[in-house]
């Protein structure tokens, strides 16, 4: 019976992760295309797009991506080809497997089958989990290996022998999968070591062996972390590279009467410390969890937070019913350590809230929600009032409304609001490649504007351009040290900002750019011709494709 229930959870998880997988989110974003094209490049040449042989960091647009997802994509692309389905297959599959594995982990930890089934079911339909396991693959992969590491560690604690090595191997793979895991996993492991110190001391030898195995597996990573690219990435995204604006500091100095006051209240420790505390608690704020979600288009679900509205009730009731798992002190400590540690990667970065970097929060939260359901069930069976059905009916109404609204928002309303630009889903590039690619040989040059960022990746991806030909041409242009780069171009393609007053005089050139770059009224029919307009899903103009004579 248990097996059938877990299978059912897996089927539900699979369904929600695979339904319209290539259509929603609307299009691949530049991270996904970069993962895909680099995997394609590895298949064809054994090198990344820059010609580095089997790298441990993929430079891509200058953001140095983690390697594991790229290597996992290699067989998938070999079988299914370089397309949207191949890129989204793995996150969905690993996401669904995480759901079942998490359910098993909860069962092993708390020995409560109802809790484990409910946690699994809630995770299977969790908007937060779905958001990052239907697309944006690296996070789903990293998270799966964390769950596998915890599950196998727990199996070992309960008398297993080899599972500690599987645990060590899994945690190491998590570090190769996604950047956030590089902070989350070590801190979580410290917490685990503190919680289970007695058990670990009793079996010190295998623990040391497993630790050494993990250390050896992670050693290459340490070297790649010291590369200038990685350092640049860390400085660019975290608060460690953040400098307060000079205008702000001058203003504060001017207004503070003595320099002593300025040094006391505006020193880096105080201001950055308060920023870190603020970021940490933002991850738990109702606005983020239930109301608005993160500001970033690629992470958000329109009109709601990362959880259902009904989860507010479950979370409060769940917290009040923690006593249901009171007898499992260590496991409860693990659950809360997990929840406390999970926001750390989001905290040290500059964004005030980040659903992707704090993704690991979703798992312990699901256990608390499941406790909420158990608490409600307990109250219902104890309550003698004939009106006891009313609060249940209210809760169920809120749940079904929230769930229905989520589906409506995710499949219809969110895509209509998050299609544009690099923080969104970069819609329009596929249509642009399909139009431009057959025409490119008729022109001296094809200039693609970079306002929406990363066009070169989409052209390489959708043209399935031979990586062996691209590698010698690969060159990343950076506007400044804090920006991501753009591929300069290949063959007769140029990827750069279009300045129409100057560029329109270039003969026999094909231009593609947004209306902000190529004004329709400045397209002089004597000089140039508007070949087509590519539209966003809501009918707004995305690109003009213009040819000069």
């Amino acid at each position: 019976m248990k097996k059938i229930i877990f299978l059912l959870i897996f089927v539900v998880a699979l369904f929600f992760r695979f339904y319209k997988i290539t259509q929603v989110p609307l299009s691949l974003n530049w991270d996904e295309t970069a993962f895909g094209y680099n995997a394609y490049s590895v298949i064809q040449t054994g090198k990344d797009e820059y010609g580095t042989k089997l790298p441990l960091e993929f430079k891509s647009v200058g953001d140095y991506k983690c390697p594991l997802f790229v290597y996992f994509l290699v067989p998938v692309i070999k079988i299914f080809g370089l397309n949207e389905f191949s890129i989204r297959l793995l996150p969905s599959l690993f996401g669904a497997m995480s759901v079942v594995l998490f359910s098993l982990l909860v069962n092993d930890l708390f020995g409560n089958i109802s809790l484990s089934i409910l946690s699994g079911m809630l995770l299977a339909i969790s908007p937060w989990h779905l958001q990052f396991t239907r697309a944006q693959g690296d996070v789903a992969l990293g998270s799966f290996f964390v769950i596998l590491g915890l599950w196998s560690f727990n199996k070992w604690l309960k008398g297993g022998r080899w599972q500690i090595y599987l645990s060590s191997f899994s945690f190491s793979l998590a570090l190769y999968s996604y950047f956030s895991e590089r902070l989350f996993v070590p801190v979580l492991l410290l917490a685990i070591a503190a919680i289970y110190q007695k058990e670990i001391k009793k079996r010190l030898k295998p623990t040391i062996k497993a630790f050494l195995l993990g250390f050896l597996l992670c050693l290459p990573l340490v070297f790649s972390m010291l590369s200038s690219g990685q350092k640049g990435k860390i400085l660019m995204t975290t608060i460690f590279g953040y400098q307060r604006p000079d205008e702000y500091l001058q203003k504060m100095k001017r207004e503070d009467i003595f320099s002593g006051i300025f040094n006391l209240y505006h020193n880096q420790l105080v201001e950055y410390g308060l920023m870190v505390i603020d970021h940490y608690f933002n991850q738990f704020s109702p606005s983020f969890l239930f109301v608005k979600g993160p500001p970033d288009d690629r992470q958000k679900i329109y009109g709601m937070g990362m959880m259902f509205w009904s989860d507010v009730i479950l979370l409060v009731v769940g917290m009040a019913n923690i006593w249901l798992i009171k007898s499992k002190k260590k496991e409860t400590a693990l659950l809360f350590s997990w929840l406390a540690v999970a926001p750390l990667p989001a905290v040290i970065t500059r964004d005030p809230v980040h659903a992707r970097r704090a993704f690991e929060m979703v798992y312990p939260l699901m256990v608390i929600l499941a406790l909420g359901i158990l608490g409600i069930n307990k109250w219902y069976s104890r309550c003698k009032s004939k009106f006891r059905i009313i609060p249940i009916a209210v809760f169920l109404t809120i749940f079904f409304w929230s769930f229905g609204y989520y589906l409506l928002s995710y499949y219809l309303l969110t895509p209509l609001r998050t299609y544009q630009g690099p923080s969104g889903w970069q819609y329009g590039y596929k249509q642009l490649v399909e139009f431009v690619s057959p025409l490119k040989d008729k022109y001296n040059q094809v200039v693609i504007d970079t306002t929406y960022q990363g066009p070169y990746l989409f052209f390489l991806f959708y043209e399935k351009y031979d990586p062996a030909k691209y590698q010698p041409q690969a060159f990343l242009v950076k506007k400044d040290e804090w920006s991501l780069g753009e591929g300069r171009g290949y063959d007769n393609y140029q990827f750069r900002d279009i300045y129409w007053p100057r560029d329109r005089s270039l003969p026999k050139t094909l231009f593609a750019g947004p209306p902000e770059r190529i004004s329709k009224k400045d397209i002089d029919p004597k000089q140039s011709e508007l070949l087509t307009t590519i539209y966003f899903p809501d009918g707004k103009e995305a690109f003009y494709v213009v040819a000069t004579k």
């Binding site: 209240y265 308060l274 603020d278 606005s287 009109g303 507010v312 409304w401 409506l408 219809l412």
Partner: protein
């Protein structure tokens, strides 16, 4: 008088809210109260726009069920209720209006956060009705149009300080943790002086008093 009540009053008087409101008393006393409007044009146009998009997708009935005045009002009300509990409002920034907040601290100092948690735990453990009462107080915030508005949340803030007071009293009544107690006092002095420094030196520039 009960020690926790005295501590609660002291804590509230030391908090940023009364000082900031007092600082701008003359302006705020003339300010108009904008009540929440169920039929505001923004509200209606958003519903109509979203419904239009759903209709175009050929599932108009779905739109009627999920996007209507009632559900939008309930969602908005829920949002306004929950924003009272936002750490950004409570601890970091407070009201969005510069006349009701220095924007450098919320109504509650960060140092009180652990005591707030401890106070909630004590209320829950003792099945205190005050907990339910405090949790109901943010409903007042739903009535005002502005988001994160302080006046309508004053009773809630006072309630939160009562709970902080419970936590502080219980903690300082314990006979151990001398170093922690000393640290709490040092941090409190720091936070309080930091707030006063903002209020007296930077805030006047922000509200145009210089």
């Amino acid at each position: 008088m009960n020690l926790s009540i005295i501590i609660f009053i002291l804590l509230f008087l030391m908090s940023p809210t009364p000082w900031t409101l007092l600082f701008n008393f003359s302006r705020l006393s003339k300010a108009e109260i904008n009540f929440y409007k169920f039929n505001s044009p923004v509200f209606i146009s958003e519903i109509n726009f979203t419904r239009g998009q759903i209709k175009e997708a050929g599932i108009a009935i779905y739109g009627k069920i999920f996007i209507n005045k009632f559900t939008y009002f309930m969602k908005d009300a829920g949002q306004r209720y929950l924003e009272s509990f936002d750490s950004h409002f409570l601890f970091t920034q407070g009201d969005l209006s510069i006349e009701k907040s220095t924007r450098n601290s919320g109504p509650i100092y960060w140092i009180w956060l652990p005591f707030l948690g401890y106070g909630f735990y004590l209320c829950y453990k003792n099945r205190s009705k005050i907990l339910v009462f405090v949790l109901l107080l943010p409903i007042l915030g739903i009535l005002i149009r502005e988001e994160y508005e302080t006046f309508s949340r004053l009773p809630f803030i006072i309630g939160m300080y009562y709970i902080v007071g419970l936590g502080v009293t219980e903690f300082f009544n314990k006979k151990k943790y001398y170093w922690t107690k000393a640290l709490v006092l040092i941090l409190l002095v720091f936070e309080y002086s930091r707030f006063l420094h903002y209020l007296l030196l930077h805030y006047p520039y922000l509200v145009g008093r210089y």
